[in-house]
């Protein structure tokens, strides 16, 4: 019997979907004499819609299986063990097979995610075999000067992947130009956008690439200390980062005189955040590392001049760091060959919402929104009508379906009123209410505003109140204009990025879906049938079986009817709580 290797994807979402149970079972089966296989683990493979994912490889090829629970695992294992061939009906991707996963993977270019889902992130040997630390070794052995390295980063055209898109090389130049006895490099891993998980997957899947990026920067700007500021909500990422840091220290890649260079002293530690979205902003993040309330400060001075503990500091986002070693290894020209004139390389997106193939995708800049959604993403769940895609979370906006040919690059996306953002891409269909989405994001920013600037603190609250009124059917003439006016004032009068972008979700939905706002305000209707107060609940006479559950669940006794006979909603008593709709087992409550 031929020996096979089984690799289980153990990222956070894989584990949530049950990959841990499959893995435990495999450990058990390893003791079984009937089976002969090598067991390995890796992190997020990116095909989240098919979790748990398991790859089986032999010298004949490799096959990625989807939705592998214990039962399916046993079937697959038996097939490989007895017949020596793959169980094709469960294969979601294999190089030579025509599976639905083919367009999903083949449309991607993996640079930042080059090792995610391929290596065991807790295994230093595997990481090094895949090229970890080759870039910094190349710099040291070829004696590349700090300026040469910075020039390479500049030439690559890499821009900050946290969302703002500032050229990374320029940032390094600034940090280098200020002198100090201590200098810091910070990794911003405070991925706070709801609906985004690119950085988590990267940290869980390939922590060494981030460490190496930071070491290269430390070499270039002369930094002495490094901090990774990671959300506490990402426990697995923190564990794996700490393992990776320990491994690097023991190899002499972190600490004193690293890589054999006399005087190159640099070490990194992980600082756990404590849950505050505003800490994704540079100056607030620094305040938080210093143990204070994470409130932003006025710039200038920029962190490059006076950052952590008042020393020159360079901050980049997780994905930006992961790109650096690849650029050094493969040359800036090769990186710049991907993308558009002003946006080079690739971008990782977390594709979620009403999309068939939701997951983590890395695509070259310059691809269109439609290509991502329909080619990679496989289209909308249930083949419903694609309505819009939300980019940039609470700081971003929507790109409506009719602008689906928009190119993914910083400037084209910005022109639509959305922002590139850190990579959250939430797909919405005809059943998503755009006013409700705007209200959702405002609710988030109101909670997360640190309270320093009046406009952000009170202005967002007032906007939220107006939106809540509109969703409750209490909207009035002039509300839309009021929202726009408030929005522009908040943008102009807030200190940091949170406030300056908080009105974006509202302004962008008004721009493209003004008719939905008007339907809520003037017709008291929610076209997507999401806003409960604007829905009329009716019993579908053909589907109702008279099971009485709706009448039992109705808190105001607004539903009447005899057992086994069609029920009836008394509209004058209905408080539109939706209990009948969510409890009906026969889909017999109609929303009108």
């Amino acid at each position: 019997m031929e020996k096979i290797k089984i690799t289980v994807g153990l990222g956070s979402c894989g584990i949530a979907a049950g990959a841990g149970k499959t893995y435990d079972k495999l450990i058990e089966w390893q003791q079984d004499v009937n089976y002969n296989f090598e067991l390995a683990k890796t992190s997020c493979i990116g095909m989240c819609f098919n979790e748990p994912l398991v790859e089986v490889s032999s010298n004949q090829g490799s096959w990625l299986y989807g939705a592998v629970d214990e039962k399916r695992m046993q079937e697959i294992l038996n097939y490989h063990s007895i017949k020596n061939e793959p169980l094709t009906k469960y294969v979601v991707y294999s190089e030579n097979l025509d599976t639905p996963g083919k367009t999903y993977f083949d449309g991607q270019v993996k640079i930042a995610l080059r090792n995610c889902g391929y290596i065991d992130p807790e295994n230093m040997n595997e990481a090094e075999a895949s090229g970890a630390y080759n870039a910094i070794k190349k710099i040291v052995s070829e004696k590349l000067s700090a300026d040469t390295v910075i020039q390479m980063v500049l030439d690559s055209g890499l821009r900050g992947r946290g969302g703002a898109g500032f050229p990374t090389g320029k940032k390094w130049q600034f940090a280098k130009s200020y002198s100090g006895d201590e200098k810091y490099v910070i990794c911003n891993a405070d991925e706070g956008d709801p609906g985004a998980f690119m950085d988590r997957s990267l940290l869980e899947g390939d922590p060494h690439s981030v460490l190496e990026g930071m070491i290269i920067c430390a070499y270039s700007i002369g930094a002495t200390g490094g901090v990774i500021y990671c959300r506490a909500e990402y426990p697995l990422a923190i564990i794996r980062l700490n393992i990776a840091i320990e491994q690097s220290r023991s190899k002499g890649y972190l600490g004193k005189n690293i890589f054999g260079l006399q005087g190159f002293n640099f070490d990194i530690y992980v600082k756990e955040g404590a849950g505050a979205f505003v800490c994704g902003e540079e100056t607030a993040l620094i305040a938080s590392i210093e143990g204070k309330r994470g409130m932003p400060n006025k710039r200038p001075p920029f962190p490059a001049e006076a950052g952590l503990w008042g020393k020159p500091t360079n901050i980049n986002n997780v994905e930006t760091w992961a790109n650096i070693p690849w650029i050094i290894n493969n040359g800036p020209e090769k990186y710049a060959a991907y993308g558009t004139e002003k946006s080079k390389g690739t971008k990782v997106f977390a594709l979620t919402g009403k999309i068939k193939n939701g997951g983590l995708v890395e695509v070259p800049m310059g691809i269109t929104v439609n290509e991502i959604i329909f080619k990679l993403g496989g289209g909308i769940i249930g083949d419903k009508q694609f309505k819009a895609v939300q980019l940039g979370g609470p700081s971003g906006g929507c790109i409506p379906a009719h602008l689906g040919e928009t190119l993914i690059d910083y400037d084209s996306v910005q022109a639509t009123g959305a922002i590139m953002g850190s990579g959250g891409m939430v797909v919405m269909d005809e059943t998503t209410c755009m006013v409700d989405i705007a209200r959702f994001f405002l609710d988030f920013t109101v909670k997360e505003s640190c309270g320093k600037c009046t406009f952000c603190r009170i202005g967002t609250k007032r906007m939220l109140e107006i939106l809540e009124r509109i969703c409750d059917g209490q909207g009035a003439d002039g509300d839309i204009e009021k929202l726009e006016e408030l929005g522009h004032q908040i943008i102009e009068n807030s200190l940091c990025g949170l406030g300056q972008t908080a009105p974006n979700p509202v302004l962008s939905t008004i721009r493209y879906f003004r008719n939905e706002y008007e339907a809520h305000i003037y017709d008291k209707k929610c076209p997507a049938k999401v806003c409960k107060k604007l829905i009329t609940y009716m019993v579908d006479e053909e589907k109702c079986t008279g099971c009485t559950i709706c009448a039992v669940k109705c808190p105001t006794k607004a539903i009447s009817g005899e057992k086994k006979k069609t029920h009836f909603v008394h509209q004058e008593l209905c408080i539109k709580c939706g209990a009948c709709f969510s409890n009906c087992n026969f889909d017999a409550i109609r929303l009108v």
Partner: protein, 174 residues
């Protein structure tokens, strides 16, 4: 602004004064005493021991490290991670990130609140469950998602969420 996170002593079970501060606190204080920027890890350490931040712990830390009570309280009320009231044995975190919101996370929260007869952020009188809404658990492709203790449950609706909850409640009764 997280006004709702300021101390409330509304029931016997939440009585702060009944909390006994143990030796574990000494270790945490010793580890961070005198280090700059250590308020957050200190409080995280305290919460890891007690599940929340008891008033007595603040006072002890202030006494032994010289940190200002107001600074610590300022930090504790700023970050969502810190709790100023005791929590239930099981913490239910219902994700309300964008992806979960679009996939009707509200139905999950409402069903759980109705079943437990508590509101978001509250703890059941028997001290078994605390219900919370969180911004994003990062499992967006499994939306809507909830996390009970360390287990994550995905692709939920009101009915399947209740099923999970009832299983746990059943085990507790045995």
């Amino acid at each position: 602004m997280r006004i709702q996170r300021i101390y409330v002593n509304n029931s016997e079970a939440n009585d702060q004064d009944k909390f006994v501060i143990t030796n574990e606190l000494d270790e945490i204080i010793a580890k961070y005493k005198g280090k700059k920027g250590s308020i957050i890890p200190l409080l995280q350490g305290v919460q890891a021991v007690f599940g929340f931040l008891p008033r007595a712990a603040f006072e002890k830390i202030a006494e032994e490290t010289g940190l200002e009570l107001s600074d610590m309280y300022g930090v504790a009320t700023f970050y969502t991670q810190f709790r100023l009231n005791p929590v239930g044995k099981h913490i239910i975190k219902v994700c309300h990130g964008t992806a979960c919101h679009v996939q009707n996370a509200n139905a999950v929260s409402e069903a759980l609140a109705e079943e437990l007869k508590i509101k978001d952020g509250e703890t059941t009188p028997d001290g078994l469950f605390t219900l919370e809404s969180v911004a994003c658990l990062g499992c967006c492709s499994l939306a809507p998602v909830m996390m009970i203790d360390n287990d994550t449950y995905g692709k939920l609706n009101n009915k399947s969420a209740l099923k999970v909850l009832r299983e746990i409640a059943k085990k507790e009764k045995q």
